[in-house]
Symmetry: C2
Subunit: 124 residues, 2 copies
């Protein structure tokens, strides 16, 4: 599965996979929308991730009707939104954990009022 994610394609293949004209891919690179690697001989190499990104751009332009400035902006905003939502989820989990931790700490405190039983209760 590692090797599959590292498959690379020359521009004609990548264009076919994304359903686009090869020249279009060159324009997209020029505008900074995709950054394929290059061989020593300057040939573009598109990864699966690059192709996926191309398909996303394809959707944004043809279905939604964005121009390239819009694609750039929307991709950036969607990244931000996704990261904000991830932070939200993480914070929620953290909140539950912290509250549980507070409960646990008080339970430890409580046993101090019954010193005779403390040793047995305290193990783990």
């Amino acid at each position: 599965m590692r090797s599959r994610n590292h498959a690379v394609y020359v521009i004609s293949v990548a264009a076919e996979l994304a359903g686009m004209h090869p020249q279009t891919l060159r324009i997209y690179e020029q505008k900074g929308l995709v950054q394929p690697k290059r061989t020593a001989g300057n040939t573009r190499l598109y990864s699966d991730l690059d192709v996926e990104r191309l398909r996303l751009i394809q959707r944004l332009t043809s279905e939604i009707g964005l121009n390239l400035a819009g694609v750039e902006r929307v991709l950036h905003l969607e990244d931000e939104l996704q990261s904000a939502r991830r932070r939200l989820d993480r914070l929620e989990a953290e909140m539950r954990a912290t509250i549980a931790e507070v409960h646990r700490s008080y339970r430890r405190d409580l046993v101090l009022y019954r010193p005779a039983q403390a040793p047995t209760l305290r193990r783990q």
Copy 2:
């Protein structure tokens, strides 16, 4: 300050305030980007909020180069992002409050181990 927020403008004035052509404003309304009120005689009335929105659209199109589909999408995404960030802030505050509440509840529980003092400690 209440009345200032309810100022309204006919299309020529609103267009001037936003630095746009009146016809452009009609197109934007047709595309759903702004929704000015109407008089009984069908004349458009733009509020300060409408004008502000027009200025924002102006920035997105002229400075950033979005087309109208992009403006619509970006405005929507920015709304979502803002609401996600607000939720994040609220959740943070709520988290602090909840943890404080847990602490307080345990402090009440603790006094139960000293029934003689409980009545006085319990008030409030």
